[in-house]
């Protein structure tokens, strides 16, 4: 099996098992919609402040509901020693990592794809003015979340307090990526293109993705196998 086949075999397995039961997806989606609802009490939905807070609000929602999905990533493999079977299989650790990260990425992307229109409807905003760039920025930030989440999922898989430790580890480290995503999303949802003043955030996001993806790909074998 070529490397790509291995990666997509793992990703496909995870996606198939999740999409059949839709447990984590449903929980995550309901959670996201509830937070979107709650935020209407934080800020007056008609005010101008909402436009300035749109990026922050959206990415808080994605971060919180994304962790619900990331928690399931490696935890899913614990019953019946599936994790041992995966580790013992002849695929390289980085292929396992990328497969799981891609699956997590896809699931969080589904949440985002549903939340954006819901957000537009609930808060009466048109957000599609810069759609291609918005999709690209969301993809970069979601990949950052998926990478860190999958990596730390592997780190915490055998812990008792896994569900508590994973958010505790992920959120502080994710802050540069979240910050950039929030800044850019606020801009793009308001319909403006990324100007020279804000392109730095795009660079931060891309650099974050590259650095942490390479780091994770190198270190994941150590974590899983030892």
């Amino acid at each position: 099996m070529t490397y790509f086949n291995q990666v997509f075999a793992i990703a496909g397995k995870d996606l198939r098992s999740e999409l059949r039961t839709k447990e984590a997806l449903n929980a995550s989606l309901s959670f996201a919609v509830v937070i979107l609802l709650l935020f209407s009490f934080v800020v007056d939905p008609d005010s101008e402040m909402l436009e300035q807070m749109s990026g922050g609000l959206l990415w808080m929602v994605f971060a919180f509901s994304g962790v619900l999905i990331l928690n399931r990533g490696f935890a899913r493999e614990l019953p019946n020693d599936c994790l041992d079977a995966l580790i013992a299989s002849p695929i390289p650790g980085s292929a396992l990592f990328f497969g799981k990260a891609i699956a997590n990425f896809a699931l969080i992307a589904i949440i985002e794809a549903i939340c954006f229109p819901v957000f537009g409807i609930l808060y009466n905003l048109t957000w599609t003015a810069q759609l291609p760039v918005l999709v690209a920025v969301s993809a970069l930030a979601t990949w950052a979340m998926a990478t860190l989440g999958t990596m730390f999922g592997a780190l915490t898989v055998n812990m008792q307090l896994r569900e508590l430790m994973l958010p505790m580890l992920i959120y502080p480290m994710l802050i540069p990526a979240l910050m950039s995503a929030m800044q850019l999303t606020t801009l793009l949802v308001a319909g403006q293109a990324i100007d020279s003043e804000h392109v730095i955030w795009l660079r931060v996001l891309i650099a974050f993705d590259i650095i942490f993806t390479s780091l994770a790909a190198v270190l994941v074998e150590t974590v899983l196998v030892g």
């Binding site: 915490t156 580890l169 480290m173 540069p176 910050m179 650095i211 030892g226």
Partner: protein, 229 residues
């Protein structure tokens, strides 16, 4: 012999601090606008540099542990991280007190304060991870990986926050600005206190390492004792 060295270093560090305090409180000139409170600076910036040095040491030790699987490196990593966390806490608290006096607020979300808080939280997560894993070798391995990630993240966070608008005073050390923006006596004092803090950090890390080694000895003794008795 090693214990004597640590004692000696500790006493030397204490004396160094006494000398520094004397200079800070009695000999340094006054700052034009801030009055006496600027002298907190000497206990605000050196702990931060020392903490970063500790975290860097921990990250390097973690990498070495992953390569060689020698327990010594794991012991050093956890000790350095803990001491670094204490020093970073000093940095945060003194910064808050200074800021309360200068800007009238206990906290502000500017670049450096935010990245200092994030750093502190990241390494707190490291200690929590260690608490949560019982098996020693898995604990060492996983926390080593986290330590490497953490250092990269800390550097990244610092850089990313720099691009945000900042309320924090800019760089004052001549090595960063290249010209004289700070009284040379104050700058010299800063380096003196940095030296004192580095020495103190070495002593604390050594003590903490002794503690960690004793803890491991206890665990192995416990296994023996309960197997036999």
């Amino acid at each position: 012999m090693r214990d004597k060295l640590i004692y000696g270093a500790g006493i030397f560090a204490a004396l160094y601090f006494v000398r520094n305090l004397y200079v800070i409180l009695l000999q340094l000139p006054d700052e034009a606008m801030q009055g006496a409170v600027y002298r907190i600076f000497f206990f605000h910036l050196p702990p931060y540099f020392t903490a970063v040095a500790c975290f860097l040491g921990a990250a390097i030790a973690s990498g070495l542990y992953l390569k060689t699987k020698n327990w010594k490196y794991d012991v050093f990593a956890v000790s350095a991280t803990e001491v670094g966390l204490a020093l970073a806490a000093i940095n945060l608290v003194t910064g808050m007190i200074w800021g309360r006096q200068q800007w009238g607020i206990w906290w502000t979300w500017d670049a450096r304060l935010t990245s200092a808080l994030i750093t502190w939280l990241i390494y707190l997560g490291y200690l929590m991870l260690r608490e949560g894993i019982k098996d020693p070798s898995e604990r060492a391995k996983n926390s080593a990986v986290l330590s490497i990630f953490a250092f990269f993240a800390v550097y990244f966070t610092y850089k990313a926050n720099e691009w945000y608008r900042t309320q924090h005073p800019g760089p004052v050390l001549t090595i960063r600005t290249g010209k004289n923006t700070i009284d040379p006596a104050m700058q010299a004092m800063l380096f003196h206190n940095l030296g004192a803090f580095l020495l103190l950090a070495v002593v604390l890390v050594a003590v903490r390492m002794n503690l960690e080694n004793s803890q491991r000895a206890v665990e192995s003794l416990r296994r023996r004792a309960h197997a036999i008795a």
